[in-house]
């Protein structure tokens, strides 16, 4: 039995050593943000990001770039996610590798939370200033209270240079210009250092005398009162009085040095400006939709009715940031991330222009490995197995029109 126990102990030790060694020598970069793990219905049926643009792919430290575009707050917002009545426009980056110099929704600065309306489309822009060198996946992102982070498409951006040269100059309303990166650091270290030293002095005062064994014996013997001397009491009074005096002095001197201070600013911004989208002249009815698991393809049967005065063709299906394009109708020229772009991923059984007043039922197939790579196929395991997305139609003059779709999805395993 003992031999067995020894062996188990020895093997456990060896396993622990191997694990520790492996952890030390194999440290892969964690570079994504879990966007693929987020429930597919969350990505498909909440915030639809489109027309996204990352202004640069390489930025030196201290230089700026923007992420801009539009997002549609889906009308069929799922019941299982809180509505975006309190939301915050964020960016998905691994910590402050950029600083957020500005963010705007509908042209308004949004440093605070905002209220969004279902069924509305908003324009946004985030201005970022490069801070830490490296290759970073930069996402648009919307945090929704009660719903969590809803991460949008991401693109790799490289920051070059040295973080040591990063500066963040700010001019206050009192006229002082400072570097927010290092401002107040010396003051913070000073006060923490001072108070820590005073605390240590108090501890050292008691620790220099015998502590536990003799004092315990004395207390047990009923001589506890003899353990505190008159000097101890004087020292304690000195420490207490000194503490109060330092606080009074430091408060007064701080108020003198900073006569103008304001409370932290908080609050919800309502009434964000929306985009007036072109009036819809195309209507779409989804007859059925299936996801063919072996083929990584979603097939929709839809009836398209053109109520406009120009023929239209379907050019793009956009869901969860993945864009399926029919290259004969729509070509991406924005530098959209390759992994999210299926340039030839959209097939329409008959994509000739639908004439004004005409209705046509067509088979639309959106196929690409992105269904698996981005785990959108996991939709079939979600509590609300409906898909949703944006369809973009183009008329003969090249004008674009957006139509939303929202329907049940049936998986096909054969």
């Amino acid at each position: 039995m003992k031999i067995l126990k020894d062996k188990v102990a020895k093997l456990s030790f060896v396993a622990l050593l191997i694990t520790v060694t492996a952890a030390m020598f194999y440290v892969p970069t964690a570079s994504a943000h879990g966007e693929k793990s987020q429930a597919a219905f969350m990505r498909m049926r909440t915030i639809h990001w489109f027309d996204l643009n990352w202004s640069k792919e390489e930025v030196p430290v201290n230089d700026t770039m923007t992420i801009s575009g539009k997002f549609y707050v889906f009308q069929g917002w799922p019941e299982t996610v809180d509505k975006p009545e309190v939301s915050f426009l964020n960016v998905g980056i691994p910590g402050p590798v950029f600083i957020r110099v500005g963010s705007w929704v509908g042209g308004q600065l949004v440093p605070r939370s905002i209220s969004l309306e279902l069924g509305e489309t908003y324009e946004f822009k985030v201005l970022l200033k490069a801070r830490r060198p490296g290759d970073w996946h930069v996402h648009a992102m919307m945090n929704v209270q009660g719903g969590g982070p809803i991460i949008g498409p991401g693109k790799w951006v490289t920051i070059t240079g040295s973080m040591a040269s990063f500066v963040n100059p700010i001019t206050t309303l009192t006229g002082e210009t400072l570097d927010l990166e290092t401002y107040n650091l010396g003051n913070t270290y000073f006060w923490h250092g001072l108070w820590y030293s005073i605390g240590l002095l108090w501890l050292v005062y008691w620790a220099r005398k015998p502590m536990f064994v003799p004092r315990s014996i004395a207390v047990e013997a009923g001589k506890a009162d003899s353990l505190i001397s008159a000097t101890d009491k004087k020292v304690a009074m000195g420490f207490a009085a000194g503490t109060i005096a330092i606080i009074a002095f430091s408060m007064a001197s701080t108020n003198e040095k900073f006569p103008i201070t304001t409370p932290l600013q908080a609050g919800l911004l309502r009434g964000m400006k929306t985009i007036e989208m072109p009036a819809k002249t195309v209507s779409v009815k989804i007859e059925d939709a299936t996801y063919r698991v072996p083929g990584r393809a979603m097939q929709m049967t839809m009836t398209i009715t053109n109520n406009g005065d120009s023929g239209v063709r379907l050019g793009e299906f956009n869901t969860a940031g993945v864009r399926f394009l029919d290259p004969e109708v729509s070509v991406d020229e924005s530098g959209y991330p390759d992994d999210l772009l299926a340039e030839e991923g959209l097939t329409v059984s008959d994509n000739s222009p639908i004439a004004p007043g005409q209705s046509r039922t067509v088979q639309v197939t959106a196929s690409d490995a992105a269904w698996e790579v981005y785990r959108l196929a996991d939709l079939i395991y979600d509590p609300d197995s409906r898909f949703a997305g944006l369809l973009f139609f183009y008329d003969e003059a090249g004008n674009r029109q957006m139509v939303t779709v929202d329907a049940p999805l049936i998986p096909s395993f054969i």
């Binding site: 943000h33 927010l180 315990s216 330092i246 932290l264």
Partner: protein, 249 residues
């Protein structure tokens, strides 16, 4: 050597052994308290202590002292009743602050690059010194709880004001007024901490206009009194020796 014989042969050896024992216990207490108190404070005080844009005049002032008087009260009870040592609160805060600074410097700054001037810990030392001094001078739990607990709450904000005041200077930023602390929270992106999570400036305490910090501090002090009593008795209960039979002593 039989069990009844002493392990030391002279008074000098006894003193040396006793001092060695002192340092061993102090070292152990310091790091055990550091770990326990740090986890407790991060779970209960959390973001209020992490970020400058959470250190407001209402909720931070209220919450931080209430959740931080716990371990000092308990450790005081143990050290005072067993050893008449009046440094329970200070040793707790020394441990907590060391743990916090290590965490903020190595993790927040070293690992995720949040500037230290944005994520430094709150200063709890003034309240701890006064709490220990009152216990020592009065020897009374009731007085320590009432006077010391109140002082713990009242001294928190002024003890931190010299550190945070420079960050409350206003800035005009793209047409909005913010404090420098707000701007830090906006600039240094926290993907998992959206603005709406911040619990600052909330509540109905509007009658006192801008002078709300003292009222919050008084409220915090009152609740700290209750929490002091509660945790003092926890500490006293944990410090009893009835768990060990007399034969094994």
């Amino acid at each position: 050597m039989s069990a009844s014989q002493s392990a030391v042969r002279s008074r000098a050896e006894a003193v040396k052994a006793s001092r060695t024992f002192d340092w061993l216990i102090l070292f152990t207490v310091f790091f055990v308290v550091l770990g326990g108190y740090h986890i407790h404070y991060m779970l209960t005080g959390g973001d209020w202590d992490f970020w400058t844009d959470w250190k407001d005049r209402r909720l931070w002032v209220t919450v931080a002292p209430i959740v931080s008087i716990t371990f000092p009260a308990a450790v005081q009870a143990c050290l005072w009743y067993r050893y008449r040592l009046p440094f329970g609160a200070v040793v707790c805060v020394l441990g907590l602050l060391l743990g916090e600074w290590v965490n903020r410097y190595l993790n927040f700054w070293g690992w995720t690059y949040f500037p230290v001037n944005f994520c430094f810990p709150s200063n709890l030392m003034p309240g701890a010194i006064v709490l220990d001094a009152i216990l020592m001078l009065t020897g009374s739990v009731t007085v320590t709880a009432v006077v010391g607990g109140l002082a713990w709450g009242l001294l928190f904000y002024p003890g931190n004001w010299p550190i945070i005041a420079p960050l409350h200077v206003p800035v005009e930023y793209n047409g909005m007024m913010m404090t420098l602390a707000d701007l830090q929270g906006y600039h240094y992106v926290r993907t998992g901490t959206p603005e709406y999570i911040r619990m600052v400036e909330k509540g109905t305490l509007r009658t006192f206009g801008k002078d709300v910090a003292p009222v919050s501090a008084f409220f915090s002090g009152f609740v700290s009194i209750i929490i002091y009593f509660l945790w003092h008795f926890f500490g006293k209960w944990f410090a009893q020796t009835t768990f060990i039979s007399s034969e094994s002593l």
